[in-house]
Symmetry: C2
Subunit: 144 residues, 2 copies
DNA sequence: CTTAATCCCTATTGACTAGATAGAGATTTG
DNA sequence: CAAATCTCTATCTAGTCAATAGGGATTAAG
């Protein structure tokens, strides 16, 4: 299961992607529109900023905007920031590989083989879905 | 990421599947062979029993054995017991559907669409991998 | 029938994380 | 300057994960 943080992050980013323009949007506006606790959203956007997914503009009439084109921000990108690796085990993570603590022989591990296939399948999907596509779909559904 | 509990469960079941015979194996034997804390394994096997994945035999010379043929126990079956639904969101879970707390319109939710595709991809893999195949692979690798 | 070996059950512990909040500091614009 | 914004650190509560403890119930063997 993804965390609440991930949900909030996706909703906030989708909000930015949907409005399209490049002018910064204030935290409070996103928070109210998407019903996200303001302070919590603050922390989330800060993290997203560190990885370049959003860009911030300080001072009066500041706010947040997407850090790169919406089509270049995948669901995988976001989930990796909020929830860590997509993989079901550190030993099959591509972005954050780590040997399992008690693994005898990784090459032979039957569990690893299955989890690796699962990771690849999930990553393939989540890396192919991006904010632009999602926002476009919302528009088609008349939700905007 | 899967839990430590899931790892232990998979290892224990693989141990049972690998030995093949139907005579019950005692917790202590599994625990020692697989280096799993004995009491913790007890709790795990108890849960697996409730769902029929293993069968128990009480009293002296009792123990545990697989509850059905190894080829009919998938990785998905096991992970669902130890870690809950495979889905990344309750609203895309097939075995344990639940509406998201703050969802406006599920039919239109762009997040849901992506998570649904991810779930299907993961489930497809994890349901197709079973203990018999994993044990066979171990034998081929000479790990047994 | 007694005894010893097993599984069964409930409770508890310690460490850690998730989700949320508070409050002050830094920066920019009008 | 003053007001509005983002930035940062600290904190709190509830819950979960991993593991442990200590019996009680059941059965097979002697």
């Amino acid at each position: 299961m993804i965390s609440q943080k991930a949900r909030y992050a996706l909703r906030a980013l989708l909000f930015l992607a949907a409005r399209g323009e490049d002018t910064p949007v204030q935290i409070s506006e996103i928070a109210e529109s998407e019903r996200i606790p303001r302070k919590f959203l603050e922390a989330i956007l800060l993290e997203l900023k560190k990885t370049g997914i959003v860009r911030s503009h300080r001072g009066r009439s500041g706010g947040y905007s997407l850090g790169r084109p919406a089509k270049d921000i995948s669901f995988a990108d976001v989930l990796r920031v909020t929830d860590g690796p997509l993989a079901l085990s550190p030993c099959v993570s591509v972005m954050a590989y780590r040997k399992c603590d008690d693994c005898f022989d990784e090459a032979v591990c039957a569990i690893r083989k299955a989890l690796l296939a699962a990771r690849d399948a999930t990553a393939q999907i989540l890396e192919s879905r991006n904010l632009a596509a999602a926002a476009a779909q919302l528009r088609r559904s008349g939700a905007l």
